[in-house]
Symmetry: C2
Subunit: 497 residues, 2 copies
């Protein structure tokens, strides 16, 4: 059932990037940098606590459109959504902490539902919980419609987004008279990058950051372009050598069949596509996305990679390669009437993230012909730039992220600068290839698990959680407690001076 739910609700959203007009650009075809996706794959025994919503109050902050410009149009205001849950807060007088979840490239609602880290830990920290939505997503779109907003997409970038967070947090601290309450920012995936960058750029606002599955090194070729696909490959190979071999061989089989008379019809039939395939790339992209999705959100207790490989390896004897592949697909999606259906729901989110990738968040994902289990798909920066330019009228700035936030030689740079950042990763998450996996200093630390997947640590706990996951979360909590304790000590001694 859970896989059916996944197919019906989540996969289509991802497939947008394939099938809508946005896909004109041959961008990488992998799941968004999102904590979501996980939601429909997780243990069905985990039910989201209704109290998450019950105790949350929604507010809107009158946000400045452009923080870094003083032209009159920069002063335009928009309503930015944030939500608060003060049920467990120890209050301003006690200087009790504030957990701030930094929204990413989707409406904040989804994150609130799947991220358990805040509500599960707020009681023991006596923490206030705040969730802030990212500009241009959800209910925080600066204009009436996303279409209108996209004409002003120049204001839609990470530097503006974290400046938004800075303003909202300072406003709240003032409003709550919580001057001394330490702020811990938390985010996952793209939101995890924002959390780490927020601590680096606004250390006077956030005491520390938990950056879950944040591939902050997947820019400007710091990480090898095939890092992502290499881990997907490794995940499948580790799950089953024969499964990996089958997938690796399948691409040429697809090409072979396609080259036959009525080849595309045959492929369409065999993969039960909702409409006839126009080319093999459509099919290959669909399969690629499933494998990437399975690997990225390869979480207990099901472990989708194992599920897919179970389908592939478990097909009855004599089944040919395409049959095995389709069997793997069905194991993943469940029995659905047809595959690769077009979908236009959640177009806003897909549009938004596509723009971000085509302007600032240039993540060079590519692969050669023999370095992974996939077919070749090199990332060619010059073509990427041209494609984005022809689509949006302006070229991306592929070196800006490392110019503004750094990344090169991160160990040297942050070893003697910065503090209080946790980079958490699961090594089975393909994005961990662009993550910080080694401690940089005493308090800029890497907490990773060998078997973990994307953003697993900040999702809701479950009875079925393996020990290593429970331990990872415990370690994170311990580290954050340490930051806060030190902060209170500093506060005490500064008040004595």
């Amino acid at each position: 059932m859970s896989f059916l739910a996944f197919s019906a609700q989540w996969l289509p959203l991802c497939l947008l990037i394939l099938f809508t007009s946005v896909s004109a650009i041959p961008h990488n075809n992998i799941p968004r940098l999102s904590v979501l996706g996980q939601k429909f794959l997780r243990d069905p025994s985990v039910t989201v606590s209704a109290s998450v919503w019950k105790d949350l109050k929604t507010y809107f902050y009158n946000q400045t459109l452009d923080h870094f410009n003083y032209n009159p149009q920069s002063y335009a205001k928009f309503k930015q959504r944030y939500l608060m849950n003060s049920k467990y807060w120890g209050g301003a007088n006690a200087s009790a902490p504030i957990f701030v979840y930094l929204g990413a490239e989707e409406p904040i609602d989804g994150d609130i539902e799947v991220v358990g880290f805040l509500p599960e830990n707020a009681p023991r920290f006596n923490a206030l919980m705040v969730y802030i939505e990212h500009r241009f997503y959800g209910k925080s779109i600066p204009f009436e419609t996303m279409e209108e907003a996209m004409t002003a997409r120049g204001y839609f970038n990470s530097a503006q987004a974290i400046a938004d967070y800075a303003e909202v947090i300072l406003y709240l601290k003032k409003k709550l008279s919580a001057h001394n309450s330490p702020i811990i920012v938390i985010g996952g995936s793209y939101g995890g990058m924002l959390a780490a960058w927020f601590r680096l750029k606004y250390p006077h606002i956030a005491l520390g950051a938990l950056a879950s599955s944040a591939p902050i090194l997947y820019f400007d070729d710091i990480t090898p372009q095939d890092g992502y696909y290499s881990i997907v490959t490794k995940d499948f190979k580790e799950a089953s050598e024969t499964c990996y071999e089958t997938i690796k061989q399948s691409w040429s089989v697809i090409d072979e069949v396609a080259s036959q008379k009525n080849g595309l019809s045959i492929l369409s039939q065999r993969f039960m596509t909702c409409s006839k395939l126009n080319n093999t790339i459509e099919l290959k992209n669909y399969l690629e996305l499933i494998y990437c999705q399975a690997a990225q959100y390869n979480s207990p207790p099901e472990y989708p990679v194992t599920v897919v490989c179970g389908g592939i390896d478990g097909a009855s004897q004599g089944t040919d390669i395409l049959g095995r592949i389709f069997s793997g697909v069905v194991a993943y999606t469940g029995n659905i009437s047809c595959h690769m259906i077009e979908d236009t729901s959640n177009i806003e989110t897909a549009l938004g993230w596509h723009w971000q990738k085509c302007s600032e968040m240039v993540i060079p994902l590519g692969r050669g012909s023999n370095d992974t289990m996939f077919f070749a798909k090199p990332f060619i920066l010059s073509s990427f730039i041209e494609d984005c330019k022809s689509m949006y009228g302006v070229p991306p700035r592929p070196h800006w992220v490392t110019t503004y936030y750094g990344g090169h030689d991160i160990n040297m740079v942050l070893k003697r600068f910065a503090s209080n950042i946790i980079f958490s990763n699961g090594l089975r998450d393909p994005y961990s290839s662009g993550g910080v996996l080694k401690d940089i200093s005493d308090s800029v630390v890497a907490v990773h698990t060998v078997n973990g997947s994307h953003c697993l640590d900040i999702l809701w706990k479950s009875q079925s959680d393996p020990k290593w996951l429970t331990n990872q979360r415990k370690e994170e909590v311990k580290i954050i407690k340490g930051w806060i304790k030190k902060y209170y000590d500093d506060l005490l001694s500064s008040s004595k001076n």
Copy 2:
């Protein structure tokens, strides 16, 4: 002679803020936040080495107009001037250091001439010297004329300026293949703030910063509004109690005379004004500016405050208060044909800084009726905002500097974050009231001198320099050497890993 030179060349520039249209707004009436001003007051025995210019080569970088926005107009390019002197550089292979002087609110030429710190220390560091001009000043104005540029003044702010510096430095490191050369940024006054902020925001680009006389705490009422004027007052009081008393009494005497029949004519005559005074404020502002200027640039060997007080106290017996005051003025300006002449040279610089103060750099300078030796001039934020708004069409953002760069609780915040910043100050500099005067950590340190004035440490050495000044400079050099040594050690051990 030096005072005459000062009067003819420098004072008029400052007085612009009083006398040109810019002065419609009752801004604070103090010298700009500039290392200059000093130039014409210094020991005439110091002659600027001709080789400063001889070995400097001028270049222009194709700079992006707006780093934080992706609208098409943000992509406009302008020529940003930078200059390099590689005479002493040890080269890229030796990973020899690069000193980068960050331009401030004036053409870079003036700073190159008065700032001796780079050329004097480059030989012992084998350092490359780079000077980068601030956007919208000098030859780095994004449009044909300053007038045109001011219609696009929204792009004219510190966040954009330090992003410019980031781009130029990365470009140069690449061009010179100097990937491992450590960057030390240096700046004075507003440029000193930029240097400190640059290290905080771009630690991956600058290894350390020397921030000379940078009043980074003179925002958002972290520093008392009368901090500046209190130090001017203290300087005069310490120089001479009677001088201080005379000045303090003079304001009411001016009012008294003005209230008489033909009072303004009498005042005009007594102060030899070039044209008849329209009101007493003109005169009071003129006097105030002289006192502030004298205090801010109260440097050896002359010590202008002593010069002014020498004039006031040394007037022949029986001279009345106004006579003494005028005698102080003449001691400072030298014998000039008339006082308070209008001047329109260097209007660009004055216009630019006025805009910066009215948008982002909101420094709340004010004073009550009895806290200083001056007449009352409170800073009223609401009026300030209204005035700026009516002048520029947009209001200032008075809390933005502390939002973006911090400042509140700076000790708590930076104690466990950041490294390698020297905040140097002279305690006789009125701006030192907004400076960092205590060590924050082992490597975020305050180096100040009791008798120093504005930016004194980074100016050219002189035979007549007092011991304390020589020591201050030595200490700074020693600290920077320590940063670089540690960096080379890190580099070595990272290459071994």
